[in-house]
Symmetry: C2
Subunit: 326 residues, 2 copies
């Protein structure tokens, strides 16, 4: 199986590449991965080829998505905070490049599987306490609007028989490894990751604020599941709200305290940022995700285990200062 991944230089793509090489997709071995991004894919493996390019470049995209490409995972995006600050850049990358990608996939004539990642930012405005599978998308950020446009196109390209597409609306990922980014939700990883690394972190929102979260490990589980899923099971709605955990920022910090002690938690400075707070507050923080669970997508058990998994991955488990409770 040959897979193209956009945004292949990012942390999620690296984890996905490793998992695909190790475990394949639904029993099929992955023999080749082409990763296209502004940065090369950091996974060193003869089966991995990096194309270092803007995904807005149709020629580069055509090299990444070749006639023998079986599936495409479209992760590349201008993130929420940046798409809000630079509307035109968001439209160019999140809408125009997604269209280029879909057109390229269509031109293959092989109806490849396309997995597109959307977001909780698809939702906004007045929301039910828990977002249901048929809750309408009413995005209140440019990022959300651009993602929903991608969802609609993936749905229509699939309906027309040009591709075999699935959109997964991914919860906010926490704890992302790596550096802070321009996503409005960047703090949802930063307030755990930075204190654990001995660095001060800023919490820009109220600790009462709840978020809909997923660990990187479960996100990878779900992307691989989407790659192997029978598309027919999705019927006329190719967009799936992934399962996740509804956790308040206060509870996230409490989990950090439990896993790594008060010393770590004390590295968080509280400084509210109205711009970030407004965007994040517009997102839903709880979902039923019934359809996704029925389709075999998975959620994390609890947030404490997410923090511990991050510590284990970062070689921090031994340094834990607190008294872990079971």
């Amino acid at each position: 199986m040959q897979i193209a991944i956009t945004g292949g230089g990012g942390f999620l793509a690296s984890m996905l590449v490793r998992r695909l090489l190790d475990q394949g997709v639904a029993g099929r071995a992955v023999t080749r991965i082409v990763a296209i991004d502004l940065a090369p894919c950091p996974v060193a493996d003869p089966r991995v080829q990096s194309i270092v390019s803007d995904i807005c470049d149709a020629d580069a995209l055509a090299r990444a998505i070749a006639p023998d490409t079986d599936a495409i995972v479209h992760l590349a995006a201008v993130v929420s905070g940046q798409a809000e600050a630079d509307f035109d850049l968001g439209m160019r990358v999140n809408v125009d490049a997604t269209r280029l990608l879909l057109e390229r996939a269509r031109a293959l004539g092989t109806r490849p599987r396309v997995v597109f990642t959307s977001s909780v930012a698809a939702f906004g405005g007045p929301l039910p306490e828990r977002v249901a599978d048929d809750t309408r998308a009413l995005p209140q950020s440019s990022y959300g609007v651009q993602k929903v446009i991608g969802e609609l196109l993936v749905g229509d390209y699939t309906r027309k028989g040009y591709i075999d597409g699935i959109t997964v609306r991914v919860p906010t990922i926490s704890v992302r490894p790596g550096a802070p980014n321009k996503a409005a939700s960047s703090f949802a990883s930063g307030i755990i990751r930075e204190p654990l690394a001995g660095i001060e972190a800023v919490c820009p929102v109220s600790t009462e604020m709840r978020m809909w979260l997923q660990s990187p490990d479960r996100a990878i589980d779900n992307l691989v599941h989407a790659l192997g899923l029978d598309g027919e099971l999705l019927g006329c709605d190719r967009t799936v709200n992934l399962p996740g955990l509804s956790v308040s920022v206060g509870a996230m910090i409490q989990a950090l305290r439990e896993a790594a002690g008060q010393e770590a938690a004390a590295r968080i400075r509280y400084e509210r940022d109205p711009a970030i707070e407004r965007i994040v507050a517009s997102w839903p923080n709880d979902f039923t995700a019934e359809r996704a669970l029925k389709l075999g997508f998975v959620a994390d058990r609890d947030y404490l285990s997410i923090v511990r998994a991050h510590m284990a991955r970062s070689g921090l488990a031994a340094q834990a200062i607190g008294t872990p409770r079971q």
Copy 2:
């Protein structure tokens, strides 16, 4: 008040132009209308200027939408049947040209009112018996997908302060004057208009099929209302499901029989077309439209009065053969 109208050569635009010149918008006189379309606006009035151009032409669009343009009514579109038959044309006109228009409106820097016409085709898939104001858009046609993309952009351009936009989801218009077009719903006018003109018409769907209808007169009432409406009243959702009538095709034909006699109704030939039936059946046929009614948008009284209004407009009232019941 100066208004630009795309699709200005069409029947709805002509009616709108006449109404705007006669009655203005919310007490303001309309001093100038620029109509841009492939055909010139047939209204002969010194206040009306036609620009004969594809709306995909950015230069022509920039001439139509000038710094002194107060409002834009965006009616031009590739209709449902054609957008399904020619995907690329639909994307180019319904998505790309809508973006050009929004960019041009944004470039003015005056935050003009933009009224965008969407459609019942925004909906599809499993639907409640009556579409509510918060029912999700899950379009099952390329036309519907392209219209929802336009809705999302109008919403985001408004949220960003680039325009002051309102999208109205217009019911299927019946009875359209003029000739049949490539809309899947074209028959919803044809089965009334053609028999009244002594011409045979084809009914391509089951007479059981229900549709969500609005007369051209009420559609114009609603477009003018949208032009003058205080946008703040719409909150974070700039898309409104217009009120209409839920009528079965059989009841439409019965109204024709009542208004013009069995001789007229006998001019309908029944020949089902699966392609048309599939598209039309994917649209909802009943709405609550509570929000629109509260905002002052209007519906027709009943379908018989729609048929009679069409006959009156066409100078056919005197020729009515049937025995009108009150």
